[in-house]
């Protein structure tokens, strides 16, 4: 079943982004070298950049349609976005960060849900700290928890491990795998690292210089590695 259907064009400086792909349930990797336009695609899905042309449909809801003049603002899209740098709110505690999405949507507190996510990501002991006191790995886990607790229709992870060293990456990857298997939220995983993508994704969309060059299974990663050699 198709969860996300994207067909957009956007000029970004000298880069012309022409991207079309469909993502099913499970984890889809948006894979390609730096500068291919991956983050811009993620920002368009989240509504932080507006495409020049095309449409974005999530779960049968039109989020963007240039022709019909539809552009759902980011705060109404319910897409959990985990940014490369975490972007936790420095003036709020971990608990308040995790709770932010629920507060903004005015939903009642759900202690069970909160505890489940905190346990899934192993962040229950960090709740009273400030983001400034967290390690890089802890920060990214909290960022994932914050995105999950807003009950997203789609989880968008943009190079969530890029700012971490190898040891921290190994620390977080199992949580992301667990997330894919337990959380039942479709995932779009943006990365340029074949090793990460192999662990997490089931489908791969390969992006290069603003265009989708291939869509398929994990075998695309081998082609990419072969190309790189």
């Amino acid at each position: 079943m198709i969860v996300l259907a994207l067909d957009v064009e956007k000029r970004l400086g000298t880069l012309m982004l022409v991207v079309r792909f469909e993502a099913a349930a499970g984890a889809t990797a948006l894979f390609g070298p730096s500068g291919a336009g991956k983050t811009s695609v993620a920002n368009m899905i989240a509504g932080l950049i507006t495409p020049d042309r095309g449409s974005i449909v999530l779960d049968g809801t039109v989020l963007f349609d240039a022709g019909a003049g539809i552009n759902v603002p980011p705060h109404k899209r319910r897409i959990g976005y985990v940014f490369q740098e975490g972007r936790l709110f420095p003036h709020l505690s971990v608990r308040q960060n995790l709770d932010y999405g629920r507060r903004m949507s005015g939903r009642p507190r759900d202690a069970k849900e909160f505890e489940r996510i905190a346990a899934l990501l192993d962040i229950g002991n960090l709740l009273d700290r400030r983001p400034g006191m967290l390690s890089g790995g802890e920060r990214q886990r909290v960022a994932v928890g914050r995105a999950l607790l807003m009950r997203p229709r789609l989880l968008l992870l943009d190079e969530p491990l890029a700012s971490l060293d190898a040891a921290r990456k190994r620390e977080i990857l199992p949580y992301l795998v667990r997330l894919r298997d337990d959380a039942q939220v479709p995932i779009v995983y943006v990365s340029h690292m074949p090793a990460e993508v192999r662990r997490i994704a089931t489908t791969v969309v390969r992006l290069d210089a603003g265009r989708v060059v291939a869509t398929g299974g994990l075998e695309l990663l081998q082609d990419a590695e072969a190309d790189a050699l």
Partner: protein, 231 residues
């Protein structure tokens, strides 16, 4: 206490009331204008920027005179406010608060603007993806992150309002119990023989108040810093 006469106490209390009212009124406008200058591009922005900072560079007497001819009972704004709302500024303590607020305004706007410019806009994007509309983003992310700058601005504006002399005396004169602030009282006392002792007492009070404002700002800024970065 301190050997102050009732008249002197009146001047101290009036100064504090005027400075507090002036700062409280200036604050929302200061945040709004600081936000406009930091975030928006619009026609006349340079003009607005200049207008806000004018009281800082103009001779205070000129500002006071401009207030007198526009906000006085016969002035265009003053007459309008009196006819429709019954509000009077001239020769009232409210007029002193107005002139003090305007004189302190640039000192409030500048740090607020700088703080807003320094905010990582990507945090606001993150808040939007988490379901916050632009008003909620402003009140839950932008404003708290700008708080240290807002505190600095409030303290500077308050201190300026507390010490304002030239514009106030030109606009609302020097009426004991109505518009005679500490500064105006000191000025009056220095003009009469034997006023030195009383002037000296008020000078000490002025120094104490200035120090208290500085210490309060230091303490508040430190608390804000702790909130941001943990102990």
């Amino acid at each position: 206490m301190l050997g102050l006469t009732p008249e002197e106490w009146t001047a101290v209390a009036l100064s504090l009331r005027i400075a507090i009212v002036a700062t409280a009124w200036a604050l929302p406008f200061g945040i709004a204008i600081g936000w406009l200058l930091a975030r928006k591009n619009f026609w006349g922005k340079t003009l607005l920027d200049g207008l806000v900072f004018l009281p800082l560079v103009l001779p205070p007497v000129v500002t006071g005179y401009l207030l007198l001819i526009s906000f006085g009972r016969r002035g265009p704004i003053g007459a309008f406010l009196y006819d429709y709302f019954g509000i009077v500024f001239s020769f009232r303590w409210t007029g002193a608060a107005l002139s003090c607020g305007i004189m302190g305004f640039p000192l409030l706007v500048r740090p607020v603007r700088l703080a807003l410019e320094a905010i990582d806009r990507r945090l606001e994007d993150a808040a939007a993806t988490l379901g916050a509309n632009s008003v909620l983003v402003f009140f839950t992310v932008t404003l708290p992150l700008a708080l240290p700058g807002i505190i600095v601005g409030v303290v500077l504006c308050f201190a300026r309002a507390l010490g304002e002399f030239g514009a106030t005396i030109t606009f609302v004169s020097n009426i004991p119990g109505e518009t005679q602030t500490i500064s105006a009282a000191i000025y009056t006392l220095t003009q009469v023989p034997g006023g030195d002792a009383a002037a000296g007492r008020l000078v000490l009070i002025a120094i104490a108040l200035a120090f208290a404002a500085l210490i309060a700002s230091e303490w508040l800024s430190r608390r804000a810093a702790i909130r941001f970065h943990g102990e």
